[in-house]
Structures are given as structure tokens and as C-alpha cells.
Symmetry: D2
């Protein structure tokens, strides 16, 4: 399958009225209009120039959300928080309106009717979006709030069991997985930028492979974990013995409020913690705290305290403080992932995209290399069509 | 040439009575005695196990210094500063005495006699050391204080001009380069762990190649620059725009006192600053401060403040504080470099060892890749006998 | 009552085998022997010179603990952790033995017999200690682990109800309050350096006043809260609007392990948090985390992130990192408190010593001024015999 | 002299087109219009409510500058840097225009004509300003860039010598002192918010006393030094032994550029360093670095590393990072100082206002107490008309 350059590509955002989605739509419009550069877009680096990915100005946005805040209002909030520059905010109003017209409001769990109804509703919305916009390809990306981890369920174990359950039970799948189901049933790749379960169920993997569709995730690596993924290898390369790694994260905004709910927070902490022992080759004492501080708004600050031993047991310390804006860090990666997932579909990839580990805290697939450098090299090689370089797995 | 496992290998330390040298000798003895592990030794990692490098307990130490502080006294100072654990200090007395008996006191610059005399004196000392200890191979390593950068000199441009100048002028070469000269004339590899000029003169490169000898350096990457070499690529991989990178370093000890001398400090700062633009692909606003704080003793603390722009120009910050003990960080790398330089000589390597860039702030040779990850992969491939992996140069 | 300078003063430490107690005994011996100065002793400052407090070398130590670790062993652990310098450790062995001979092992809760038995046992031990050592005065200081906050109990409301309950019920009082009871019944002042309830029950206050005895506490202000007690007034003085104050504390050791028990931790966090709104005059968003990191040993690191607004709502930040050794911070204050509590008893003070707020996170008494500066001035004025200065309460 | 409440008070800003002055004018207008609160104004705290200071909306602004950037343009720059909120920027245009119409452009040094000409020019401008605005009182405040410290000069030693020199020499006084001269000659108090020499010359002190005028300064305490002035007393109160105090400051903007000129920077560093030994009672090892990082714009970040010893010589550390906006921190203090200096004049104060030490890094006058808490209490007592409280000087 070869992408037709005449055809735009659709980006269907689950959680389409949130900070990330609004920043994505605003930023893409500003880049298209030439009033902003694509800072933070990995696919704009020279290493990816030859792949012929879809230009940012050919992306068309739509999506679904459980909330109904108008996009322009959300954009204003982001502008006053300094996430979207004031002068850009003005220029992108029309793009926000266009995206707004492609969004539907969906019901959350707990309606009591079989979940098949909600699945069909999403599938129809995707078909309508595709029809209206003329997009040959659509990529479904989950940027909604983090969900609690669901209990295990026999319906998750096979596609057949899942289909039966959808017909009879109201809340089989968590919303992220329902979105993945609808994407695959509609013939679209699925990307999960959250730590929610998403496509990571045997039944959904079966469906993706059956439909010859790729999926990627989970949990965008935008801040503290990004830094960890380069610092931990540093200690490993040098044979330094990390004894304890403590991290405290404070954040406000909708994401922070969700995480102050302890179940969702557990999901997130598990996702953040999983990589450290992979990166080091052993598990140091490790604690991750995530705390909601409303005053932080869209900003997140992480403090990490790393105690390590060197030669003859000498105790040393590395501390870092990361002050980042999650929406601004996530948005360009969403553009990357839409472009790359569409590219993967064109290349005929199916199942989990292990090569996308560079973007995620808890990547689907083999995850041979948790080092950011190795993940970058692997992604670059994949885009170039070559297999991963032999030397990069440590 | 194949190393005879029966034969020990000599490590001739220039600056043999300093904190690093004393920690090297003490630590090697403790490792040999089984009272300490080789934490921080890169060559002890699984990736290097198959190379058959000389075991640490086969290393024999000697060296030269301009000062005469007894090694046991220096070791006591390091023990009370927490660099050498008290219980290890006691166990290594004999090893310190043995190394002490293999050290000579050398004159500094300014004696007025032609420098040939001092060169011959060093060459003789190396021959005596080798004869006494039965070492087939000796590696000369400079761990002395940082020197001011010398002015350019016609005598540096060719071996012939250098030889003539040594016969007639008293202070042609700075001490680090004189040590490199003596090493090469004695048939030994040379490693410079300091930012001094060392072997990096055309005349000395000519001599090394003529004698089929390898050399490595410069300026051991032990702390702040090590962290930079993983953080800067992180920003580059993600297309984030680093606007300014400020670093303040405070340190005490002999090294700190030397650097409070502004000329030596300039040499050091140049060495530290050189890598940032290579790592990023552009030169952000950058300042490096090194300040002497006597109270810090053998400890160094570095604060780095990195301001970067993300999507739509949003300003973000990363700060880190590194609290390290330089001697404890450097010592295991000295053991690595002695083992690897001896191995290089056995492999017939000649001239600058580009593959050793992993260890240095300002590596000799081609320096294709300044990323720590790429440097590690390159070193690993070199030890394994393979060429550098294709994918690692960014 | 005038102190007879011939008579020593006893310090009865509840939790006498812990890190703080061991550091107190070792340090007092080193000060007496002239091998250490009294760094960190407030009562050694020039402002307190004229009060004629008991000299440190006239203090005699005893105490009780539920554990039986020998003091010399604990001192060795502290020496290898760098809390007690190696050279001092050797010199204080005799003093440790002497203190050891004055310690009793006590049972914890849950024995089933009426608590009167345990109270009498403590009272007898105090009488024996006094008889053996010839101390006219004894100060009882609680440095044991933090307890969970007990539920309210009618027995706490009056001395009469308490006495009845002690005769019949096995676990009326938590250990800290039992120690206060025994102290008061024995005619001794009581100081609580922990956040436990200690003397802060109406029944015990009644007993103290009846016996004309002073008491002080609670929760020694040794680290993060100390810093808060000067930083928060800074914001208040300048009319800057603190929006959020987040703090993460990591610590190891016995104290850390106790606090990883969530109930004790709640007690501690309440104690730490209480002062902020007093200091500022309003309550900003505030979170305090205390996490156990075994690797930290006797060391504690606190990171605080303060977000504040200035003129026209501009957002600014202050962060600090405190790296302290709790035992070394607490021990000199214990010496201060023993000296000052004995002095208070000589002065005829009775009931809560409000003037000791300088030392505590959650002071007993009126607590007019939470600013460290005001608390210092008040303590100084009290020692000098004058009323608190008029201008210091903000 | 009693202030007539009908009469406005003039604030004549030297450096009237800089960031601080622009923020002052904008902020005062916003406060007057009710679109901003007076956050960061000390004189708005309850402690100062009874003094009857001039309301902010009765202040009238004028001034002089060597640059000619229009105030509206500077305000726009500050708005885009986040110093002045966008919505306030719009509302204050008229106030900026009004202030603009009261500003004159002055020549810098080096014109060659006797300085008397420039002095008279300033005096006339002040008279015109007073006449036009009907201000009974005018306070002259220096918020211009930091000057190099002038060499000593006989003309500075007496008013007579100064007057003679002004008649004959072109550059007798640095600009800040010329402003103080003109202020005093015009019958106005003078406040120096910069570290420049300002009124601190015997000749100018003589003039101020002769004219029965008060003056205050120097060097507004807005950031790092503010924090030092509460942290250093904390160590002193607790008898902790500060061994070294290192600070690195990075800042952009006009102030940063001026300080990258080494002479002005020396003046600044001296001013910042002077207080530490006063606060502690001894001089620890101390280094202050100020570096220009253009990218920081109007923001300043300071990192401080404090190493201190506690009981038995245990080494501990406190680090802090201050991220502040100097203009936003300074502006409300300028409003305070204008109000308070006018009040001082009304009270008949003459010569250096020691009671204003709270605002300055290097206060004029006796400076009995460098602790921020003592300085606050002293200011409060002075405003209340009482002498300073006895207990606050440590």
C-alpha cells in the first residue's frame, strides 16, 4: 500500500478536548500557517527527512471526548497558562473550529446497555469522519485521562470471547480499549499515549493482527522518565552502583486531578517504575511519588534523587529537577506518532510496533533496549527500512 | 604480539603521589585482596569479559611526581575524607609501600639545563621499573595537575625539530608532553587523563606512529561532562531546542587549587565546553564556571541549569546537581585505561585511540560520536574486534 | 531552689539505645574530654553564657529502651555511617559503658497486666538512677520512635480518671505518655523530642502543674521544618503570596522504618504541616511526603518546592534541598534541652514551657510566634529572666 | 510637617525607561484601576496600615533616562516576557503615556562641560515636574544600571570641595551621585535601589543633613540575598558552623548585560557578599558569581550551596535555587520606598535611614541587625513611631 500524496491523513483523538489535543490542533495549525516551527517534533529531524512522511499541514483532526468544553475556550486557558503563545492563539481559531466540527461527545461507562452499542457508535463516527474529510488513512490516538487498571477478565483472552461479551455486558472494556477495538474494526492503527490498558489485551492483539493493523504505546515518555532513560544507562555504562532512586512529581491540571485518584495513580506509577531495572540490569531501591498540586496548572516539576556507589563504596549523589509543560512536550510527539503510525500501516506492519519504544515509558512489543539512545537508533533504522542496528542493544 | 599471561603489566603514573594515583593503588590492592569490588570499572562489565584483559591483580604500579608526600600519608588523608574506607586503608599499606618504592621524584620546569636531560632521566626510570618488575608492557598515564596551554612552537611541528630543541632548550615541552615523549621513546603507550596537551603535538604523534604505539586522552570524563554527554543527546533526539546551558563547578583539593590559577582553568573550561555543540548539532549560549572552595576537599559539586524551548516556544528547564568524589570516579577508569591501552598495544594499534572517546571529555582521534551511548557501543565493538556499529553515529 | 554546682544533673533518655541517644552520650563524652567542640549546641552561644547552665561534663546519662543493642555496637554503626567520627568513637567507649550500666530494658505494650506495674517499674528505675548517681535533678527526654496518635480516651481527661485506669487497664497510655507520667511522679521535668503525644494530655498537664514541674516538646525541629520556619516568614514580610508548598522527605534508619508505617507517619506529617499557616497567616496548598529509603541510613534529604506569586501575579519559585544527619542535628539540642529544663525547674516553672518553641515543630504552650527569629529572641529573653520582647510577635 | 492628603506625591525615577520603572508605573496604574492587587508591597501589610501612608493611586511618576525607548514599547516587551500580564498591559497605556510626558532624556558622562550644567538641568527638571503635577513632595529613586565604583576623590570629602569641583570638572560625580545631589538641592529625599555609590559620599551626606533630608539605600534586596538574610541567621541561632557558601547567579536583560561588564559586577558582588559575615558573626569561605545569560531575559536564577558542620563535625549541606523575576520583585518595593521616604520626610528624618535596612543588601546607616526578621521588626517599630525593639539585635 502506497500513500497517495493527494490524500490527507486523519488524526482521531480520544480525549479530543483536553490540553494535549488542543495543543496538537493549535500547533499543527500554527506550523501549517508558518507562525511556529515544529520544535519538539522528532520526525522533523534530518534523520527522518528521507522517509516522505505526511506533511503536518495534511493532517486533519477529529475525535471524541466525554467533556464538552469548547476547544477555543480550552485554547484560551492554555494561552493564559503560557502553553500556547498569545499571538498563535489568535491565528488558529479557524483550525480549532474545523476540528471542533469533527468531534463527537461520547458517554462514559455505566449506562447499563451492552457495550456493543457504544462500540458501534464510535465505529460509525470514524466512518463519517473519513467520509467527510476524504482521509484514506486515519490514526486513532488515545490522549484521554489515565484509567484505573481493570481486573483480569476471561473476555480479554480471545477475540471470540470479547465479541460475545460486548453483545451482552455493559462495561466489558475500559474506554481506552473500546477505542482500540473501534479503531481496529474500522481498519485504523491505534496509538495509546496514556498508561491505560488500551490495545494491550490478547483479544485486541488478535483483532489487530487479523486486520493486519499496527498499534503502539503506552504512556508517552515526556519528562522525568525521559531523563531517566538516559541517566540510568550512564550509570550502567560506567559500572556505578545505583543504590536508590527516588522521584517526586508534582503536577496540576486535569491529569494531576485524575492522578490524585489513587487507582489511576497506581497505574501511572507502575508504568514509570518499570523501566529502571531494565535500564540498569538490576533493581535499586526505588520510589515514585506523583502528587497533585492544583497551583501547578499545566506544568509538572519532578525532583529525582539518585544515590550511587562508586569505587571502594564511596557514596555519591545526582539530583535533578525537571520543570516541564506536559502538553507542550506531548503535542509534537502526537504529530510524530500519527505520521509514523500511518507510515507503518503503509509499510504493512501488523501488531505491536516495538520500534516505537523511543516514545513510550512502557512500550508494547519486545522492548529489547530501554536506553533512549538505542531506541532512537532503532526507530531511525526502522524508518530507513533497515533492521535495527546490531550493536545498540546493551 | 600476544600478551604472556605470566607477565605482569606496569602502570607508570605521572603525578603518582596525588589523590587519584593513591586511590588507584589502594583500590587495586583492595580488589586483589578481595576486600573491595571493582565498582566503577568499565572493563569489569559483562560486555568486556571475553577480551581477556590483564587481571587487576597483575598490575604493578610505579611513577613520578614533583611532590614527595608519602603515599601512606596521602592515603590517610583520603581515608579521613571518606574517599578510601577506613577498613580498606589498613589493608593496603603494603601495596602502598611497594608502589612507593617504584616512584621517583622529578624536577619541575625552570632548571635551566636542556630538557634532554630530564627526558633521559624519565626514560631510564621507566627502563629500571620494567627491569625490576619484569613487566613486559608498561602503560604511562598522566594524572598530574592540569597545566596551562603552551603557546605554539615550531619545535612541536615535527619530530626532527623537537629532537633538536630538546638538545638545546631547557623548557621545550610542558611536563605532560615530556612524559608522552619518554613513554614513546621507551616503547610504551601513553594515556592522558588530564586536559593538558600531553601527546597532542604533531611531533609526538609522529613519534608514536613511528614506534607503532597507541595513545589516548584527554581529560577524564568523570562528572558533569559525563552527565552532559547523555543529557545533550536527549534534547537532540527529541528535537528540543536548548537555549542556554550554564554550569557552576565547585571543588577543593589539589585540583581545585590548581584551577584557581586562571590559566590552567582556561584549559579545563575549554575542554569541558567543547563537546556541547557536537552533541547538539548547534551551539547554545553556554558558560562554564570552575571555582575553588577549599572546604569541599576531594569532593566536587556541579550545578547545571539548562533552559530549553519546546513546542510553540514554551520555555522549560532542567537543572541537575552532581555531588561526586573525583578520585573515586577517576581511579577505576585509570585501571580500565591501563588494561585497555596494554590490550591496544597487543593488538598493534598505533596513533590516537579514537575508540577510547568514552573515557574523555576531549578525545583524541576522529571523535565521530560524542554521545556516551555511541562511545560505549564503539568501545565495546572495538574490544570485541569488530568495527564500530554502523548505526551509532548520529 | 538554687542548683548546687557540686551536684551533677541526670539525663534519662527514653529510647536510650537509638541513634540520637548514642550520639548524645558519645558527643557529651567527647566534649568533656575536649576532643570535640559543642557545635550545634544553642546553649553554648554567647547569648546564653550568663545563665550559668550546668556544664556538659556534669551531665550523667541513663535511660530505658525496648531494644537491647549494646551502645558500643550502635556507636560503631554510627561511626561507619560517618555520624560519629572514627577518632571520637574510640575515645568515648568508657562513657558508653557507664551510660549502658544505667539503662534498663522495658517491655512494650501488650503484656496484659495493668499499666500501673510498668509505671512503677519506671519510677523505681528513676529513683535508683538518682540514688546511684547522686543527681539532685533528672530530666526525662523522649527520643524513642514516633508512635501512632492514640484515640481519645476518658482516662486522659483528668488525673483521677487516669490513676483509676492505670490500676485496671493494661495499655491506657502510649509509651511516651507513660514516661511523662513516671517523670512527673518522680519529680522530674519531661521533654518530648518526638511527635508522640507525650505529656500533652489534660491528665498529665494536671499532674505536672500539681507537682510544680515544667514540660516541653514536641517534635524536635531539626531539618526541613527548621528551614521552613525562616523561609515562610520571609515571604510574609515581603507580602509575597505563597501558592503551594510541597515537600518530599527521604530518610533511612530506624526513624525511617517507623515512618514507613503509615500511622506513625500521619502523626509526623501533621506535626510538620501545622506551622505553615501560622507562619504565613494563611494556608497555601501544601503536601508533605515522608518516604523510607533504607539506603539513606542516618541521613535525611528533603526537597521543598515553593511556588509564589509576586507583583501583578508573576509566578516565581524557590526550591531547596536539605541534606542532613538527624542524629547529629538532634543530639546537641538534647543537651540544650536537658540543661534548660533543669534550669526551668530551678526557676520554679510549671506546666508547658512555651518559651522552648524554638526547639520544636509543634510546641506546647501558647506558641505566639512560629518564626524562628521570634522564638530565638523569646528563649534568649526567658533565659535572661526578662519577659519576651514586645516587638517580636508578628 | 504634615502631609496634605489632597496633594499627590511625586516619584522621580532615575532610569525611568528600564524594566523596573516600567513595571512600577504599570503596576501602580493597575492597582489604582483595581485590576491588580498590591502583592509584594510591604506597606500594604496589616502591620503598616495605621501609618496613613500615601495611597498608591496618589503617586505621580516622572523621571530621567539616558535611553529613549518609549515606555509602551518596553511594557510590551515585559508583557511578552510574562512580567506584566497581557490583560493589565492593555489597561495601563494611558498611565504609561502620562509618565512618559514627565520624563526627560539626560546625557551620560563624557560631554566635557562642567558637571554643574548637568546638575542644574536635573534640578530644573525636578522643579518643572513639581510645578506641573502639584506634588508637594517628590521622592527621587535610582533604578538605573549599576555603575562601576568610582575612585576616591578629594571632592567627595566635603560639600564645599564638591561644589567647587562641580563648577570646574566635567565628570566629578557618577550619575547616581549626581542624582542624589540634585534631589537634595531640590529638597527631596533620595533612595538608591542600586549598588551604585549614590548618596554615600561625605559631601552628599553633609548636604542631606544640612537640608534636613533623609536618604536610603543601597541595592534592593530582592532575591538571593533576601534568602540569605533569613538562612544565615538560622545557622547562627542553632550554633551550626557554616564552612562555605557559594552562589551562582544567572540573569539576562539589561541588568545582566551591565554586569557582564566586570567593573559593575565587582560593585554588585561586593554588595552581595558584605552581609554574610555580619549575619553569621564570622566569615565562612564565600564566593559569589554573577553571569550574564541573555536567554534568561528578565528572569534571574540563583543557586546557593551551603556546606556546614554540625555536632562532632558532621558535614551537611543546604542548597537552594531561586527563580525570580527581578522587575516584579523590585517594583512593589519601589512603591514602598517612595511612600516610606515621603513619610520619613514628613517625620523630619534627616541623613541615612538605618531603619530601611529591610529593603537593602548594603544598608546605609548603623545596620545594627542584618537579620531580615530584626530588620522587619525595626521598620515596623519605626513606622509605628516607637524606637526599635530591644530584643531584636542579635
Amino acid at each position: 500500500m502506497t500513500r497517495n500524496d493527494k490524500s490527507p491523513i486523519g488524526a482521531w483523538l480520544v480525549g479530543s478536548r483536553g490540553s494535549i489535543a488542543t495543543t496538537v490542533v493549535s500547533g499543527a495549525a500554527a506550523i501549517a500557517a508558518g507562525t511556529a516551527g515544529a520544535v519538539g517534533c522528532v520526525t522533523e529531524l534530518a534523520d527522518f527527512a528521507s522517509a516522505g512522511l505526511v506533511p503536518v499541514d495534511r493532517l486533519v483532526f477529529g475525535g471524541c471526548d466525554v467533556v464538552t468544553t469548547p476547544l477555543r475556550k480550552r485554547a484560551e486557558q492554555l494561552a493564559s497558562a503560557g502553553v500556547i503563545p498569545a499571538h498563535i492563539g489568535a491565528a488558529v481559531g479557524e483550525a480549532l473550529d474545523r476540528a471542533e466540527s469533527e468531534m463527537i461527545t461520547i458517554a462514559g461507562p455505566g449506562t447499563g446497555v451492552p457495550q456493543r452499542v457504544r462500540a458501534d457508535c464510535l465505529i460509525k463516527a470514524l466512518a463519517d469522519f473519513q467520509a467527510r474529510t476524504g482521509c484514506e488513512q486515519v490514526v486513532v490516538v488515545n490522549v484521554a485521562s489515565t484509567e484505573p487498571t481493570p481486573d483480569s477478565d476471561p473476555a480479554y483472552q480471545s477475540l471470540e470471547a470479547l465479541e460475545t461479551a460486548l453483545d451482552t455486558r455493559p462495561d466489558v472494556l475500559p474506554p481506552s480499549s473500546l477505542a482500540a477495538y473501534a479503531a481496529f474494526r474500522s481498519g485504523h492503527p491505534f496509538v495509546d499515549f496514556t498508561p491505560s490498558v488500551g490495545a494491550r489485551l490478547p483479544a485486541l492483539d488478535e483483532l489487530a493482527r487479523q486486520a493486519n493493523l499496527p498499534y503502539a504505546g503506552n504512556d508517552g515518555k515526556t519528562g522525568e522518565t525521559l531523563v531517566k532513560s538516559v541517566l540510568a544507562p550512564m550509570f550502567a555504562y560506567r559500572g556505578l552502583d545505583v543504590r536508590s532512586w527516588y522521584s517526586a512529581n508534582i503536577l496540576g491540571g486535569g491529569d494531576g486531578a485524575t492522578l490524585s485518584d489513587s487507582e489511576a495513580c497506581d497505574t501511572k506509577i507502575r508504568s514509570k517504575a518499570s523501566s529502571l531495572s531494565k535500564l540498569l540490569g538490576y533493581a535499586p531501591e526505588s520510589t515514585v511519588r506523583i502528587d497533585y498540586v492544583a497551583d501547578m496548572g499545566d506544568w509538572k516539576t519532578a525532583w529525582n534523587h539518585v544515590a550511587f556507589q562508586g569505587f571502594l563504596g564511596v557514596q555519591m549523589k545526582l539530583q535533578f529537577t525537571w520543570q516541564g509543560c506536559d502538553s507542550a512536550l506531548a503535542a509534537p510527539l502526537i504529530l510524530d506518532l500519527v505520521r509514523l503510525a500511518a507510515f507503518a500501516q503503509q509499510r504493512g506492519e501488523s501488531g505491536p510496533l516495538s520500534e516505537f519504544g523511543f516514545f513510550f515509558k512502557d512500550p508494547v512489543g519486545d522492548g529489547d533496549d530501554s536506553r533512549l539512545s538505542g531506541q532512537y537508533d532503532r526507530l531511525k533504522a526502522w524508518v530507513a527500512g533497515a533492521p535495527a542496528p546490531a550493536g545498540t542493544a546493551s
